[in-house]
Amino acid sequence: MKSLKVNIVTPEKIAWEAEAVSVTLPGSDGYLGVWANHAPLVTGLVPGVITIKLNEGGQSKLMACSGGFVEISANAVNIMSDTCEDAGEIDAGRAKAALERAKERLSISDAETDKARATLAKERAEARLEVLDLMER
């Protein structure tokens, strides 16, 4: 079984890199699964959960991604994201507060509130909470 090399980089650091069996990514056109020998592809990422299947046994790593780009080539998956955190790095309280704030902003209906930004913030917070939720199970 061929494996994939997964690199997740953020502007501040290398968030994670290792060999994996498969990766599921929140692409801009919907979630996509990547296995070994995938065709070369570049696509945008939206806020969501990245699932990295580490081995055949089904062990996987979950990370909350806040959007960016992915480049897939020659069995390497290069993920460029503004932020990318695993369960240990996520602050549940902060994510919840951010979610509340974003929802509140979305419920106000005036022209001044930046709806697009609030929606993105909401999606980011939801992705973080989802990672925590999935890890608990």
Partner: protein, 293 residues
């Protein structure tokens, strides 16, 4: 009166010594900051390299030009000048300001409306005092680059260019060449010159020539990717400039500490001489008195 000189010299030695302790402490702080800053710069490099590579790919193959490539007649120009907030780093700020002022004056002489976005108190104070038009001032970065600050400056640069506020954006900062050398440079940021996309070191040409599938399309991706690339470029610039600042401060504080040490040695020698001279004079007095009896 013999001994008075010795007293004054002792006082001076003490004062030089306390200055030496201060410069030494500042050197240590700068060294620690330099270390951290360099580490961050290294950690940020993979992202920047991957991003640059992607942009390179796209700019080679995408036919749809982005407005960020658009070369317009320059009526208004923005200079982003990155200096430090505090002094005591040798000629670091002066060199930068000199270069920036020359470029800005030339730009004004051309009849171009020129404004300045300053990062760091030194450039901000210098240009504001001399009645240059300030576009924005960031005096609170304190020698630390974060992704958010990169966004702040980079976002402003991209937005003003797209909005047509400025037709050209240039960047003046100190390149980090080595611990001892920081080179002030003046670079064009916007419009993006197609060949200015720095070549990331390609480890394997094979990968570079792959035929990618682009989702959604190249033009759509380009639109998101380019601003991201520019913001990242500004972020990397801030990081490099701040690393240079810490290196310059460390070098100049090391020199100051060394000089203080030399001064102390010289003063101590002089003090010992004077003390010896005083003792000799006293002895001669005593001997002379005894002989006279």
């Amino acid at each position: 009166m013999p001994g008075a000189g010795v007293k004054i010299l002792n006082k001076r030695i003490r004062s030089v010594n306390s200055t030496k302790q201060i410069t030494k402490a500042m050197k240590m702080v700068a060294a620690a900051k330099l270390n951290r800053s360099q580490g961050k710069m290294l950690a940020a490099r993979p992202y920047s390299q991957k991003l640059t590579k992607l942009v390179e790919h796209l700019s080679g193959s995408a036919d749809g030009g982005s407005p960020l490539f658009e070369v317009r007649e320059v009526k208004r120009r923005l200079f982003v000048v990155v200096t430090s907030d505090k002094g005591l780093c040798g000629s670091y700020n002066m060199n930068l300001i000199k270069l920036a002022q020359k470029a800005i004056d030339a730009s004004v002489a051309e009849g171009v409306e020129t404004e300045i976005l300053s990062v760091g108190k030194k450039a901000g104070d210098y240009f504001a005092k001399r009645d240059y038009t300030m576009f924005e001032r960031h005096d609170d970065y304190n020698g630390e680059a974060t992704a958010q600050r990169g966004q702040q400056v980079g976002g402003a640069v991209v937005d003003t260019f797209l909005a047509g506020t400025f037709d050209e954006v240039r960047l003046v900062y100190a390149q980090f060449v080595s611990m001892m050398t920081q080179q002030p440079v003046d670079q064009l940021v916007l419009p993006i010159a197609p060949d200015s996309v720095e070549k990331a070191d390609d480890e394997d040409e094979e990968v570079a020539n792959l035929d990618y599938i682009w989702e959604p399309g190249q033009a759509e991706l380009f639109e998101v990717l380019l601003p991201l690339y520019l913001r990242n470029r500004v972020f990397m610039t801030l990081m490099e400039a701040f690393t240079s600042e810490h290196a310059a401060r460390m070098t100049s504080m090391t020199a100051a500490t060394d000089n203080a040490g030399e001064l102390i040695d010289a003063l101590t020698l002089q003090r010992n001489r004077e003390r010896q001279a005083a003792i000799t004079a006293e002895l001669l007095d005593i001997v002379g008195g005894a002989n006279a009896l």
